[in-house]
Symmetry: C2
């Protein structure tokens, strides 16, 4: 009965994502997880989250750092303010993000990230060029 708290589960998940430990990340997701990358769209299920965590920006980055600036939790709901950093070549793309997580039976069943898509797009083409 003494598993990790929701706060700890989310911290572990963020660490696993940034380390590209995709198996470790997906292991704490509920079977019916919803990942809502707000300005872009939603995907459902661990396999779809795995595809995001291995595609696009993650594939292009030589290194990732996801820094949790603040994290608060009430019951099964956790929110964190982060700077998600991706190193591409010798430059860092930095995205200020707020994540919302809802846990069910110790696993994440909602992961919703809010950020400014324009800011992301403005940094990305240049870095990927």
């Amino acid at each position: 009965m003494n598993g990790p708290t929701p706060d700890e589960v989310v911290r572990g998940f963020i660490t696993a994502c940034a380390r590209r430990d995709v198996d470790g990340a997906v292991a704490v997701l509920a079977d019916d997880v919803e990942y809502d990358n707000v300005p872009i769209g939603k995907v459902f299920g661990p396999a779809a989250v795995r595809a995001v965590l291995t595609g696009d920006i993650f594939a292009a980055a030589a290194e990732c750092e996801w820094v949790i600036v603040r994290q608060v939790a009430t019951g099964p709901v956790v929110m964190n303010e982060r700077i998600d950093r991706f190193r591409i070549g010798d430059r860092w793309l930095e995205i200020p993000v707020v994540g919302i997580f809802e846990l069910d039976d110790g696993r994440i069943r909602l992961w919703r990230d809010y950020f400014d898509l324009g800011d992301y797009r403005q940094q990305k083409p240049d870095l990927l060029a």
Copy 2:
């Protein structure tokens, strides 16, 4: 010593903003408050926040509703997921927002809102036309 909790202070602040009770909203701000409207920029001090709460979209709106979807708090830090709605003419502009609040001695000294500026801009010109 038994003042409102940080959770209660933030709920009252959001209610006051949506009601355009600007005096009530500004009354719970610290003298050195920082309001960081992330994709747009920062302002400092209660007078500057008052100017935001009476300008632009607030001035254009006939009605405001700020719906708190989720709110969590740990110590003096509060985060909420909201839909900030502004009625302009017969249409509603709806902005999904996450707010981060840090309290000091019962007053808000940091208010930081994350949202997608492109989504906001896309809705606004049409509504204001």
